[in-house]
């Protein structure tokens, strides 16, 4: 600190003045004096720091212009930047992007943080009109300049500020503001009063509504043309003011101070390691941190701050698109303020003729390379003494007390000129008319007049964009908003509107690049925002099938709307022929990039997701089977399907409820149908799944029949599994007695389940259809059980799932119900029947309808003669009775077909041989003496 002597007196005059002011306003030396003089001390100290501190404010064009000028002038060799240090490798990719974009650090696999915090995400949005972008662009485009990020890593963000992660703001973001997702935002140069009263006071006296507006009016504009020293000192002063007037929120202060210690420690480490002269470096940080009072402050500050190690969390990094609206929403800025800043930036550039630094795309690599040095060369003569000024920090301080002058100067007039205002007034009326307002030229005149009047009222010589906005709202907005956007929003759009950034192809993660590569045959610019329609005629261009595969995977993995099939579906066992898609990959770029953090290819991510889903502790058999289906459908991976199928088996074995039975049945049927048609042999897992499922559901059946938690539908689905898989299960070695026993052990009491059991018994042959009909008839005839008849009927309807053959009985039962049930019972039940048929059993209704169509007459004329089949008289004479009356015919039959008799005899253990009967009477006699065999045979033959 050699030049300490020189600047001692620099601020003396100001000090004196402030001291007088303090005495005058506060009646003596007290806190006010301490505060005012403290401000000057802070400025003084920051100005004298050998390592040049460049204070900035976020999204401030004034900061950006000052930064650009300073960099051109000083040409520092090292730029230290207040940005998470682990984000450094990404910055080189910025040249491939359209700003604003955000640098993102993302972690899903947490180690050291509570699992429920995940996924962790930190974003640092970067706009063109910002000092940090100038610094980055300078460092990246100038050879030999090193950019060092010195702020704490993303990991530390969560280590130090755990509360923010647990209680994110509950504001519902609109679609445009949600570009950053639920990430924690970090930004360079957060500068805003932390003292609510101070902010309120500033706003009230500034006659402005929002902090951004105040800043624009009172700092941004006056500093727009200020020289380097003035800029620095004013920013130091503002930073110091907000710092000193902050309430003592200990947690927040601690984080801030820790960050400062962190940054200074890192800088000193870097200086020491590289041997850089502090005079050749610039430290770009928020003005708030420039007024730091930690001991570690400065190149010669205290050492000894221990940087805590990062946790074991694996962080992924990438660039995601950002937008002005998203930035405003995330950092609580006034709507439209970032856009206004961007407009201001272009205006400032034009006015001050400052040459900004820009990262050019490598495609035109030659051009920027040629241009930047040329410009620097032009400014080189003035830049040459740069090192001299830098080496002598006192030189920076010596010319100035710029503060006194600045503070005494009246506010700078907003350079909105009349022509510009006129243009705006006409423009907003046009925009409003397009948005459905009844605005006319008269409104344009009124808006112009009102803006001027409002500005006058608010002590401004000319209206600011914000005044104009108020005026437009006053004159054009009526009692309702006719379209999607109100006038306020229209003005914001007109003032530059929301700008949405785009991450260039080269800066995308491998997965996203791969997706774009693979979709290239579609010949669509999918990087662009908006919805693109893709037509895939796979029949004529088979190579598009791979695109189709990818699109289906994206549809599965990405948020709704990214890839939406308009035509075409993906069903097991079907090949696509033609498909059309609505694709919005550009709009959902962030989601695609975040997908890229999970793996290097879409297939890999999908496989991981399916595995995660299947192996989730709460996964049911149905979910695992779904994963199997998806694996087959999207990945066509028999290996994964087998693996997941084997897991399904395990899950099934541990399941004790039948909740997922309907789903399991549906999926297994579908998978079986697929395997049967497409593969020579069934995969081993599905065979064992069927056999284990058979045994499993047999075991659970008796309990499910009486379990109150299991619904009729679930029990029906179990029976469905048992009956429809029966042949396969038996062929694989299952025992039918198991099922018979299970049905025999079931004793439901609830009517619908009783009906279900009857149906099962009919299927097993333990109950004839006639008996079932009889039972239904009995129920209808018994006035005591009549009210519960609908419940029986529901059971029967559900029974169509396992026993579709019963459909005629069900149609009959329903018809009977409609015909015979009294209205008070029938009417309340009808809606239930309809909803049951429509909701759960969408596939049962067609079955019923078809059968009903078969039974009922098709034409009105036939109805008169029509007799329902169940009312038709029973077949008059059963053939058996004829056999009984006609005994000799029986003997003839016996003689003609001896095999049946032989078999019966063998069964009975009788070894007698045939003898020809001499005459009919002898046979008749034999029959008379031994009627048992004949009777048994009769019973056997007549049995249906």
């Amino acid at each position: 600190m050699s030049p300490t002597t020189a600047p001692v007196g620099v601020f003396d005059a100001l000090r004196g003045q402030l001291q007088d002011a303090a005495t005058a306003f506060a009646d003596g030396p007290d806190a006010l004096q301490g505060l005012l003089l403290g401000l000057v001390d802070d400025v003084d100290r920051a100005v004298r720091e050998p390592l040049e501190i460049f204070p900035v404010c976020h999204h401030s064009p004034a900061s950006a212009v000052a930064m650009a000028r300073r960099l051109r002038e000083k040409q520092p060799k090292v730029v230290y930047l207040e940005l998470c240090e682990d984000m450094a490798p990404l910055l080189s990719e910025l040249r491939n992007c359209t700003l604003p974009v955000a640098v993102q650090a993302f972690a899903t696999e947490l180690d050291g943080f509570p699992a429920d915090w995940g996924p962790l995400s930190v974003v640092a949005p970067i706009t063109e009109a910002s000092a940090e972008y100038q610094a980055i662009a300078y460092a990246q485009s100038t050879p030999g300049v090193e950019l060092v990020l010195v702020d704490r890593s993303s990991d530390h963000v969560f280590q130090w500020e755990p509360r923010r992660a647990t209680s994110p703001d509950q504001q519902e973001p609109d679609e445009e503001a949600a570009l950053h997702g639920d990430a924690v935002g970090v930004e360079i140069g957060d500068l805003r009063p932390r003292f609510a009263e101070l902010e309120e006071h500033l706003l009230r006296n500034g006659r402005v509504r929002h902090w951004s507006e105040w800043w624009h009016q009172y700092v941004e504009l006056p500093l727009g043309d200020a020289d380097h020293d003035t800029y620095r000192q004013v920013m130091f002063l503002v930073g110091s003011l907000f710092r000193r007037l902050a309430p003592g929120e200990s947690a927040r202060v601690r984080v801030d101070e820790d960050r400062e210690r962190y940054m200074w420690t890192r800088m000193r480490e870097h200086l020491a390691a590289t041997g850089t002269d502090p005079g050749e470096a610039v430290y770009v940080c928020g003005a708030f941190h420039a007024a730091s009072r930690v001991e570690e402050f400065g190149v010669h500050g205290a050492t000894g701050f221990e940087i805590a190690p990062r946790t074991g969390t694996t962080w992924q990094y990438g660039l995601i698109p950002s937008s002005h609206t998203a930035i405003e929403a995330q950092f609580g800025l006034a709507p439209g303020s970032v856009s206004i800043a961007a407009t201001q930036w272009t205006k400032n550039l034009k006015r001050t003729r400052a040459v900004p630094f820009r990262l050019e795309r490598p495609a035109g690599g030659k051009k920027p390379a040629a241009r930047t040095p040329a410009r620097t060369a032009r400014s080189a003569p003035s830049a040459l003494p740069g090192p001299a000024t830098a080496a002598d920090p006192a030189g920076a301080a010596a010319p100035a007390d710029r503060l006194s002058g600045f503070l005494r100067r009246p506010g700078v007039v907003d350079p909105v000129d009349e022509a510009e205002l006129l243009g705006w007034s006409v423009g907003i009326v046009h925009a409003a008319r397009r948005a459905g307002y009844l605005a006319s030229t008269a409104d344009a005149i009124a808006v112009f007049e009102t803006s001027v009047l409002l500005a006058g009222m608010r002590d401004r010589a000319k209206p600011t964009p914000y005044d104009f906005q108020d005026a437009a709202v006053t004159c054009i907005e009526k009692d309702s908003v006719p379209g999607r956007r109100d006038v306020r929003r229209l003005v914001e759009i007109m003032m530059g509107g929301d700008r949405i950034g785009r991450v260039g192809y080269d800066a995308l993660p491998p997965l996203a690049r791969d997706v774009h590569d693979r979709l290239a045959p579609l010949d669509l610019n999918l990087q662009q925002r908006g919805v693109k329609r893709a037509l895939l005629d796979i029949a004529s261009r088979p190579e598009l099938e791979r695109c189709s595969d990818l699109l289906w995977m994206l549809r599965y993995l990405m948020p709704a709307g990214t890839a939406r099939p308009i035509m075409g579906e993906r069903v097991l066992g079907q090949r696509p022929i033609q498909e059309s898609w609505d694709l919005a990959l550009g709009t959902h770029q962030r989601a695609l990039i975040e997908l890229g953090y999970e793996g290097v290819s879409v297939e890999q991510v999908l496989e991981q997701r399916l595995r995660r889903k299947a192996y989730h502790p709460l996964a049911t058999t149905a979910t695992v089977l779904e994963a199997v289906e998806d694996a087959t459908l999207y990945l066509r991976s028999a290996r994964l399907a087998d693996e997941l199928g084997a897991h399904a088996l395990k899950v099934l074995a541990t399941e004790r409820t039948v909740e997922s039975a309907p789903d399991v049945l549906r999926r297994v049927r579908r998978l079986l149908a697929y395997y049967r048609t497409s593969q020579p042999v069934l995969p081993a897992w599905i065979e064992s799944f069927v056999t284990s499922g058979y045994a499993h559901y047999c075991t659970l059946l008796p309990r499910a029949f009486v379990d109150e938690d299991a619904t009729v539908r679930q029990v029906a689905a179990m029976l469905g599994f048992l009956f429809t898989m029966e042949s396969l299960a038996l062929s694989l070695g299952c025992d039918r007695t198991q099922l018979e026993l299970a049905v025999a052990q079931s004793h439901p009491e609830e009517p619908s389940r009783v009906a279900l059991l009857w149906a099962a018994q009919v299927q097993l042959g333990r109950l004839s259809r006639a008996e079932l009909r009889g039972r239904c008839d009995e129920l209808l005839g018994n006035p005591l059980v009549l009210p519960s008849y609908p419940a029986y009927l529901s059971g029967l309807v559900h029974a169509l799932e396992p026993v579709p053959g019963l459909v005629d009985v069900v149609v009959e039962a329903v018809s009977q119900a409609l015909g015979r049930l009294p209205d008070p019972v029938l009417l309340p039940w009808l809606p239930t029947l309809i909803t049951a048929l429509r909701a759960d059993n969408a596939d049962l209704a067609p079955l019923l309808v078809r059968e009903a169509g078969r039974i009922f007459p098709g034409r009105l004329a036939e109805l008169d003669q029509w007799v329902p089949p169940w009312r038709e008289p029973a077949p008059t004479a059963p053939p058996t009775s004829r056999a009984r009356t006609d005994a000799p015919a029986g003997v003839a039959l016996l003689a003609a077909h001896p095999a049946a008799c032989d078999a019966a005899a063998r069964l009975l253990g009788c070894d007698a041989t045939w003898r020809t009967a001499p005459a009919a009477p002898a046979g008749a006699r034999l029959l008379a003496t031994h009627p048992e065999a004949a009777l048994a045979l009769e019973a056997l033959l007549t049995k249906r």
Partner: protein
Amino acid sequence: MSDLLRAPAEIKYADELAWLESVDTGTKPFTWRLSPKMIRTFVLGSQPGDQLDRKVEQKWFGDAAIVERAIVTLASDRGLLLIGDPGTGKSWLAELLSAAVCRNSTLVVQGTAGTTEDHIKYSWNVSMVIAQGQSRASMIPSPIMTAMETGAIGRFEELTRATSDVQDALISILSEKYISVPELEENGTVFARPGFSVIATANSRDRGVNDLSSALKRRFNFVRIPVVTNRRSETEIVRFRTEELLRRHQITLDVPPTLLDVLLQSFADLREASAAAGSDDERLESALSSAEQIGVLEDAILHSNFFGRQTLTADTLASSLVSSLARRDEDTPILNKYLHGVVAPRTEDSVQNSGEWTQFLQGGQAALKALA
């Protein structure tokens, strides 16, 4: 202090207005008595930065931008339409503005279903017409016409309650700025003098009753006044209006700040419940505006002053709240539910409750019992 029950703003603040006029150096549009900036100060109160020797009280509480936009509209050639929920202070703002601009806030037409075109134009003194024939002397000008003739602000309250034909009569007044009187052969046109403008108010809950025509909408600048939900502003409003009341009745009653908190909190709770209610039957009929809040407090103050123990207590406040909010049969169970579900748990919370909530609960329950 005037001897009027409710003095209009220009009388009530006559001193202040006169003083402001004397120190006002700003440019005044037309025949305005104060410059726009001074009107702003009059309505919103003075700030230390204004460098005035005398403190000007804030009279209307809300966003400063609303007042600025309203003033600026009056200075332009469009009418001002203040639109908002009942009880948000539209009429009060209109009164303050007219008092500040022209010292006359009484040129008011009240919009009702029975308002006719005569009410906004002119009518005739029938006996004079019979005696002398139609002349300027036998004409009875409407308040709006008077405002035109004197270059003052005419007020039209509840514009949307008036029928469309009456509303449309305003169109020519606002655009041509004259009224023709075809009955008079001479001087058959009454021209507006500079400074004339119209401040109308409309209730946003009446939307659809008599919608404004787009022609009329074009001639008005709409300024929407939101319901005050900011706790601090609301406290200010209630305190301001209560002090006024106490002064008017010359009551020396102390309103403890804790009770003010109880009142504000109970209204905030009820508003929240109303917002969450599914149907109108589960919602109080009252709009729960700041005006209503003041009404409850006024009621309680007057009651304790004349019938009570000369001090305002929480139970009086509760009974006044119940009696002002229970308007239909459906309101009683809602209030009952509120007392049991929200207030009762609060009485058990020692941090929030230092006795006044218990008293409030008791008072409320007693009032409900009396209602039943």
